[in-house]
Structure formats: structure tokens, C-alpha cells
Symmetry: none
Subunit: 206 residues, 4 copies
Amino acid sequence: MQSRTPPARTGRPRSAAADAAILAATRDALVEIGWSRMSLGDVAQRAGVAKTTLYRRWAGKNELVVDAVAELFDELVLPDGDSLAADVVGVVLQFGELLRRPETRTALMAVVAESTSDPALRLRIRTAIVDRQKRLVLQGRERAQRRGELPYETEPAVAEQHADLIFDVIAGTVVHRALVSDGPVDEAWAQALAGLLIAGLPTAMA
Amino acid sequence: MQSRTPPARTGRPRSAAADAAILAATRDALVEIGWSRMSLGDVAQRAGVAKTTLYRRWAGKNELVVDAVAELFDELVLPDGDSLAADVVGVVLQFGELLRRPETRTALMAVVAESTSDPALRLRIRTAIVDRQKRLVLQGRERAQRRGELPYETEPAVAEQHADLIFDVIAGTVVHRALVSDGPVDEAWAQALAGLLIAGLPTAMA
Amino acid sequence: MQSRTPPARTGRPRSAAADAAILAATRDALVEIGWSRMSLGDVAQRAGVAKTTLYRRWAGKNELVVDAVAELFDELVLPDGDSLAADVVGVVLQFGELLRRPETRTALMAVVAESTSDPALRLRIRTAIVDRQKRLVLQGRERAQRRGELPYETEPAVAEQHADLIFDVIAGTVVHRALVSDGPVDEAWAQALAGLLIAGLPTAMA
Amino acid sequence: MQSRTPPARTGRPRSAAADAAILAATRDALVEIGWSRMSLGDVAQRAGVAKTTLYRRWAGKNELVVDAVAELFDELVLPDGDSLAADVVGVVLQFGELLRRPETRTALMAVVAESTSDPALRLRIRTAIVDRQKRLVLQGRERAQRRGELPYETEPAVAEQHADLIFDVIAGTVVHRALVSDGPVDEAWAQALAGLLIAGLPTAMA
DNA sequence: AATTAAGCGAGACGGTACGTCGTGTCTTGAG
DNA sequence: CTCAAGACACGACGTACCGTCTCGCTTAATT
């Protein structure tokens, strides 16, 4: 809560309202016209702001969009299920719902695409969006361990590897289902995925 | 009985060599200058082809890149493993290798990102790239069934749902690992993923 | 009426209908869409002819247009006036009328413009269009001389210089009036011009 | 009382230097590569200016060339002659000289040709080039009237009609001589034309 | 209250790529 | 050898956005 503006601050301060208007306008523009067709001139006009103001705050489209969508992902919570399977289903459904919103799906994939040739952006995405959600896996595992559904892993490095893998599996699978295969992420599908994860292929297919 | 060319058959036919040259030039340009900086003028020049020729065949950058990248995915083959786990590991490693090549990772994510607000492009990606690779899942399942590792599913609709789910899980997980989590897709990781899929979480974590 | 095709003629002969159709289509296109916007593809399509056919007969747009409009200028005749002034007025009005037709005005100026940097085209215009109309000046002078309105010039070279000058004056003035000053070429204006030519400035302005 | 800038006065003002550079580059390009081969991209590059800047000020090639050439016509001055005939000869020779320069002849006829099917362009040519040079006729007439060579016309409308006609005659005749008949505009020819204008045909041919 | 320095809107600027169009040539198969 | 059809290499078109740069005008904190 303390001011961390490093140097002396003279002159007219930056408008806080402008920041909010720009981020909101960015999300609107993403929904309406898509990533590639969205120009920063558009965003500035929608926000009632000069392009200069926008470039004074962000280096480019990528940085702006990451900031504009990062907060949307913090809505995810681990639902109050009574089994590991229910927890998985709950998270999958929430994530699926998030990916149905145009601004989320478009912006997320756009910045991931850009990040394939921009390591700094990749890091920013991971810290600002992805890693924050690993808490869901950790919470879910802990609950399942308390219920006796999963064993305790004593080696911390191994435990982290497990968590990372599970996160990749769940997040990657839902994204692929929603954005590539273009199929619904509904109750039935979520249960099938949860069944596969918990029981393994031979049992799940039996 | 033979001629099924539906409309008229007049005028100079399109050059088959041009198609190949354009697709190859597209891949080269992707590697050398990246998706976003690559212009269709560049591609045309590299291919020794006029821009017109390019636009006569493809509607834009996205469609062109989908086709250019699609061919790369046809390299994937189901390796000659002697167990379901070995087959999964083999495919995962191949796919991981493919995603390490800059043109593949960049182009794939770029078109997926565009496709989030372009249903026609989404369909094209699915038919040109994704659906073609489901053969790997089908082959792998069949081998596993013959070995007795997996049961036979008699209901075709259910069988297809299983295949789709498995494909989403494997493809999505590998993409997420490679492009978002930014971790290596190596032998150890591939075995961990295969173990999870075959045995289920409780066993895999034990 | 005899075939004057110089070498042996083998293969399919050229369609005579095609020539006429192309020239007519050229005139139509000039009227409707103007010189610069008229493409040879347009002309070919209007004539129901392939572009190849067109290029087989003419070297380009300029040559085609010269041929297409040359004959229109042969309509001009020296009217049956009873004085030099009446003859001048009659010719001026006819020429003015010709320049009101869109295809004539556009095509004439277009080829003249092209000819400024193409001596061969300049020659072609002069022989195909301009020089043919000098007959009007020669006829008018002869009549005026017979009426006693103009003296006889005995030196042929001087007589030709006079005729050339008069032609430049009349043709140039009418073109400038019609196409640049954009004023009407009507009876009153024609009489004013004739008066100036015959009586000279001091008298004409008195 | 003073500021009559009609609309808003905001944003960066247009560079006056750019206008001059563009017009000069246009003239250079006309000389070096000719009207039809000259592209606006060329002009922009020669002027060290972006194409955008060029299109912000002119609607197209025609308008630009009209303005670029118009300045050249302002070089014309009424020479310090001591008779009406000398003044006419002086102006004719200057105009003939102007029409010997490739950029002038080509550009002038090209825009006139375009103007035959573009009334707005016709107006622009008239206001930017033609009407400005009528001053020469007005000055010459005034001098001749002071010398007693021409009568005073008291009716303004008639006086204007006279001036317009004389302008059409001189300008049209010189253009026709120079560009169509392709003859020299030299001292002898200029004197013949002046003689015709001042004395009328019967006297001039005597 | 006056000064001052940055923020602000507007929009012009030099660039680059776009997707389309026209040119003149070439390549088919049919006549 | 001609024809209609249309693909081809080339190159200009006019537009859109980029990110930067003036402009003249606020707007606060400092004098």
C-alpha cells in the first residue's frame, strides 16, 4: 500500500482511470474483433484515450493483453467435493466455462502463441497466469490424501513432479478439448476424464 | 466412372509444383523469420511465385500455415513397441520432438489462437492436422487389445469417445508441457505420463 | 476483295468477326469506364474473346484505341456554306459535336497523351487521324479563293504552311475550348472564332 | 477578427516541407521515368516521405501531377514588348519552350486526358493551371489598349468572352502545333500566328 | 497565486504488409 | 494455326496499423 514510485514525482500524475479504461477496452475489443484484428488504435479509441497514453504504459499488444486477462483466471476455486473424482470434475467444469468466454480463449492462446518465440513473455504468462492455478492441484491432492484416496509422497521433489504432471494433464486436456477438438466440456466428459485419471486406461475402458 | 472433376475443365491447369514450392517456402520462412514477421510477400518471393498465385490457392496466412504445418505432423508414426506403455512413450517423444522445432510450435499455436475466433479455420485445423493423427490412437488401441492389455469395446460410439478423450489427453498434455510449462518432454517424463494413463493416479503416485 | 495474306496460310484462319467485335467493345468500354480504368481484360470479355486473341492482333492499349476511334473522325465534312465565315462555323460546330461524344474525347486525348513519349504512336495518330482532316482546310480555302474572299498563294510551300497553321488554330482552339475551358462549342462561339480568324483582333473586338 | 481557421486546431500540423519535397520529386520522376511508369511509391521514396503522407494530401496521381505541373506554368511572364504582335510572339515562344520539356508535355496531356471523364479533375486543372495564366491575356490586352492597338470594351461580360476566346486560340494552337502536328514553335511560326490573330486571314495570307 | 513539468487528446509522420488489380505471356484442350 | 479459358510472374495500387513524433491544452505539486 505504500507508494513505490522510485524517483521524485513531479508534473501531472498519470490518470488511474485511464488504466482501467484501457484494460476494459482491451477485453471488449478482444471479444468483438479478435486478437489479430484488434489494433491498439482501436483500443485507444474505445477507451477514449490517445495512443500515446497507451504506449506510455505498455510496451505493446502482448504485454497489454496479458495484463488485461490475467485477473480473469483468479476466479477458479476448488469446489467443495467429497471425493477426488468430484474435485477433478468441479475444476474441469470451471476451467471449461472460463474457456467458453471469447476474451479468455482468444487472449490466452494469443499470448501463448506469441510466447513461443519470446521467452520473457513465456515467463510472464507462467508467473502471472499459470503457476497461480497450481494451488488447485495442491489443494485437491491434500484433500484426497486426507480422505485416503491418494498415498502420501515423502520426497518433495517427486511430489512436485507429480503435481506438475497432473496440472499439465488437466489443463492441457481441457484446452485441447475446448479449443482444438471443439467439443463440449460438460459433466459427462469431465467424469470420463476424471475416471481415466483415477482408474487408468484399462479400467476406464472396461 | 473415372472422371469426377465436377466443373468445367478449361484453361491452363494450376501448377502442382507451385503448391509444393509455396508450402516449403512457408516452412522455411517460419523457421527463419517467425510467424508474426513472416509476410506472404516473403513466402511468394522465396517460392519464386507471384503473390497472386498464392492467394489463388489460400485465403490468407492462417490457411496457408495450417497446410504447411500439417505435412509435418504426418511424420508421426506409431513406433514398434511391445507394450501399450512403450507405444505411448514412443508417440509422446515424437510429438515432443516435433514441438521443439520452432516452425512447428510457433505456427501451430498461432493458427490455434486465430481459430478461437474463426470457426472455419478451426475446422480446417481439425481436418488437416488433428483428425489425421487420431490414427495413432486407433492403431495403439488395436495393438493393445490384441496383446490383451485393453478390453474390446463393442459399441462404436463409445469406442470413438474413448479415442477422442485419449487423444485430447495425450496431445493436450504434451503441448502444455512443452509450450506453457516449458519443461522437457524426455524419456522420464513420457514414462510418468504413460504410467498415469495406464494405471491411474493412485497407482501412479504410489 | 482478294486475299492478300502474304505467306501460305495454314491452320485455322483468324476470325474476321473477332476484329469487329473487339473494336466495338473498345469503343463501348471507353464510353462506359474511361481510358485509364479500361483494361484489355475488360475489352476481351465484352467482345467475347480471349485476351490472347486481342494481343495477337494489337501490340497494346494505345494501338487498339487508335484503330478503334480513327474512323469516327472521317464523318467530318465541309458544309455547303456560301461564305468563308459560314464554312468555318460549320466545321467548328461539327468538330465540337464530335468532341462531345465521350469515346471520342477520351480516346483522342488518351492517345495524344501517350504519344508525347512515343514518336511512332505520334506518327500513327497524325497519319490515321489528323492529316486526313486537313482536306477540310484545303477545300475551304479553295472555295473562298473562288469567291474572292482569299487571295491565291502561288508558292506551294507557303500555301502549305498557311494551311497547317489554320488547321492548328481551328483544331487546337476547338479542343481547348471543349476539353480544357469546358465551354460550349455553339453557334455564337463559332461565329466569334470565325470573326477573329477572318477580321483579326482589332476588328473583332471593335 | 483574425483567426479564420475554420475547424478544430488539434494534432500535429502537416509538414510544409513534405509538400514541397513531394512536388519536386514528382517533377523529377516525370522527367526520368515518364507519366505512365511513374508510381506514387516512387515519388514517395524520392521525396523521403511515406506513401501515407502523399495520399493524405492528394487523392491520386492525377491530382498530384496537376499541382506539380501547375507551378511550372507560373514561370510564364508577359515579355517587355513594344507592340501587341511582339507580346504575342513572346508568350507563344515561352509556352512552346515549356511544352518542349518532357515532364510538362507528358504530364499536361495525361491529366487532360484523364479529365475528359472526371469533372472534378477538369475543374482542378482549370483553376490550378489554366485560369491562372489568363493574366497574360489580360495584361497583353491592357498594354495594347494603352498603345491604341486595341479598342476598349466597356461591357465586362463581353470583355471576358474576348479574353477567353483569345486564350483558347493561343493556348490551343500552340499545344496542337507542338504535340500533335509535331512542328517547331519558333520565331517564324510565332510571327505567323501573331499576324493571323491581329490582321485576320485575308490580310495574313496576302 | 505563479511556476513548472509531466500527462493528455489529437493526429501527422516514416514504415511495412496487406489483398486486389492489370499487364502481357504461357499452357491447356478443342476445332 | 486459331480459339476460349484461365493460370502465371510482375509490379503498382490504395488502405491499415505500427510505434514515434509534434502540437497546444490541462492538471497537480512545488514555489
